[in-house]
């Protein structure tokens, strides 16, 4: 018996098939550039130049590309720099921002709301727009990098880890997010702790910090992805090879190995890998962080 084309069941099935088709086509388009990147990193040069036609996947995968790519420059150093800077900036900003959020969201003192509003300016300003004054500022940090007390004569914090870490610590957005979160915690919790004689810092460490795992997870993801992926800031603030992060390291291929796309793609894949692994392990948390990444109240 033929299915009645008007039947509900038929329409349901048809719509589901249509939905999956659309989704699959989009998925292939979205993943293709990524697949090309990974597969090119595994191809031997002969396949790159398509001696016998084009194949999406390598016929003879050559994992040694990865080793060769990593040996082509000081990649150990670049990875160390990126991991170190990302870790310290993330850990530091989580602590400093949640502490600030606790102060602005829970504690009561004169001028608190003005201080909070003043902090919001930091959310509204695009950080690229501050690159000129920040560069001048970092260059003239007193008594650093050969500078005198007035911040002249040397290079200050340029080409140091401090330049890559310290300005990342004071995220207005992080404080904002933590404050909103703490506002949702019943105030009685703090009051009863206070009655028991707890100091604000103790209440923060023992009550609020353990409660704030979801918001801190989101912040940690946003911050670490941002710092790991950042290119503009380290490009301006560092110039020596010793201080390069992995994103800057990818530039080394544009000079010396113009046609070594195999090595460049291998290195590019490795640079993207840590974030991809973290994403695969923590998909739900990544989605949550995306939802909280806006500027909203």
């Amino acid at each position: 018996m033929r299915a009645n084309p008007r039947s509900r069941r038929f329409i349901e099935t048809r719509n589901t098939v249509a939905a999956y088709s659309v989704l699959s086509i989009f998925a292939i388009i979205m993943i293709l550039p990524f697949v090309i990147m990974v597969s090119t990193g595994l191809k031997p040069m002969s396949e790159l130049f398509m001696v016998d036609g084009f194949h999406l996947f390598p016929k003879n995968p050559q994992p040694s590309n990865y080793i060769e790519a990593m040996q082509s420059a000081a990649w150990g150093r670049y990875f160390f720099n990126s991991i170190f800077v990302t870790f310290v900036a993330t850990a530091g900003s989580l602590f400093i921002n949640s502490l600030g959020g606790f102060s602005l969201g829970v504690l009561k003192y004169p001028g608190r709301d003005v201080l909070f509003l003043l902090l919001l300016i930091g959310i509204m300003v695009p950080f690229q727009a501050l690159i000129v004054p920040q560069y001048i500022l970092l260059r003239s940090i007193p008594l650093a990098g050969g500078n005198n007390l007035l911040g002249r004569g040397g290079t200050g914090w340029l080409n140091t880890y401090s330049a890559l870490i310290v300005p990342q610590l004071a995220g207005s957005f992080g404080v904002f997010l933590c404050r909103q979160y703490f506002l949702g915690v019943p105030y009685e919790l703090y009051e009863s702790a206070k009655v028991d004689g707890a100091k604000p810092m103790t209440a923060f460490m023992q009550i609020y910090l353990p409660l704030s795992k979801p918001v801190l997870t989101s912040l940690a993801i946003l911050k670490s992805v941002h710092v790991w992926n950042d290119f503009f800031y380290p490009l301006i603030m560092t110039s020596s090879d010793r201080m390069r992060t992995v994103q800057l390291g990818l530039q080394t291929f544009q000079g010396y190995a113009l046609n070594r796309w195999d090595l460049m793609m291998a290195a590019t894949t490795l640079v993207a890998l840590p974030i991809i692994i973290a994403f695969l392990l923590l998909q739900r948390q990544f989605v949550q962080s995306a939802l909280s990444s806006g500027l909203k109240g």
Binding site: N15, A19, L23, F26, A27, M30, P33, F34, I36, M37, L48, F54, L99, G100, S103, L104, L107, K108, Y109, P110, R112, L118, G122, I123, M124, V125, P126, Q128, A129, L130, I131, V132, P133, Q134, Y135, I136, L137, V166, L169, S172, P200, F204, V225, W228, N229, D230, F231, F232, L250, W261, A272, I275, F286, V287, A290, L291, S293, G294, K296, G297
Partner: protein
């Protein structure tokens, strides 16, 4: 009661705020004031900045390069934001239907958003490669004309916009999907009872209810595309003939290639102003949009 409250002030609140505020005032608040000051100054590093009135802004106003950068930024902005919003919404609406495989599809669509723009730029540079890139190989195999697309002034910006869309779509899709999941199912049940078809439901229920979300997505992706730098730096270096120079790239060039810090500061203030307009609008009108998205 009132005096009791006063006594209960936690003055240590200032103390806990100090670490954050110290860095915030030093690296954000002070630079905001400083960049505004520098935009009215002549400063080329060699000598201390001197007050120069509006000359930097007048220079920008008369500079063809800057006007071009402004135009290019707007072109990139409209191209990436509109297309990635439409795609993101379309995918989310479709993705909201099936029960199985949603998280797999969602992950695939979201992945490009997590790659650094340097990685994205390099991947697409390779796709566009004139000799052995996949795009030209494909076009050649079907007998089309191939060329070094990125050196074509008429095409270059459009080719940079495509990876821009590629990275933004997943983010927009995630927000839309969350918004769709927040829509009360009873609307659709009523529509079913009244015999409304799926197209009708899309236009009469889904889209109107998504409007606040759309606003939020619009603001978020606008802010990101106004700041585009890496794709330009990696893929075109601002060329050919300045057709892909954007505001941020212009700031970089004026400040750190030509050491015209005053002009770079003025261009930064323009960028800041544009983003500020969008952000402030968000603060005024966009709040409910986000709360719905959660």
């Amino acid at each position: 009661m009132f005096s009791k409250r006063q006594l209960r002030y936690d003055y240590s609140g200032y103390l806990l705020l100090i670490p954050n505020y110290l860095i915030y005032t030093t690296f954000i608040l002070y630079p905001v004031l400083r960049v505004i000051y520098l935009s009215f100054a002549q400063y080329r590093f060699v000598t201390p900045p001197t007050f120069a009135g509006l000359s930097n802004y007048l220079y920008l106003l008369e500079s063809d390069r800057f006007r071009q950068a402004l135009f290019n930024t707007m072109y990139y902005w409209i191209g990436t934001v509109l297309v990635s919003m439409a795609l993101g919404m379309l995918i989310a609406v479709v993705l909201n239907r099936p029960k199985r495989g949603v998280s797999l599809f969602r992950s695939i669509y979201y992945l490009p958003n997590l790659l650094s723009l340097v990685v994205v730029g390099i991947a697409w540079l390779w796709i566009y490669n004139p000799q052995i890139g996949i795009l030209n190989s494909f076009l050649r195999s079907v007998g089309w004309r191939t060329s070094d697309w990125l050196r074509d002034p008429d095409l270059a910006m459009t080719l940079v916009i495509i990876p821009g869309i590629w990275t933004l779509t997943g983010f927009n899709m995630i927000i839309y999907l969350a918004g769709l999941q927040g829509i009360d199912q009873s609307y659709y049940e009523v529509a079913d009872i009244e015999g409304a078809g799926s197209i009708r439901k899309l236009f009469s229920i889904t889209l109107p209810l998504l409007r606040p979300i759309s606003f939020f997505v619009f603001v978020m992706s606008s802010i990101r595309s106004f700041q585009v730098f890496e794709l330009i730096y990696i893929m075109t270096g601002g060329g050919p003939r300045g057709t892909t120079t954007t505001l941020t790239f212009e700031v970089y060039q004026m400040g750190f290639m030509h050491y015209q810090m005053g002009r770079a500061a003025a261009a930064s203030v323009v960028l800041m102003f544009i983003v500020l307009i969008v952000t402030v609008t968000n603060f005024w009108y966009g709040r409910e949009g986000f709360n719905d998205a959660r």
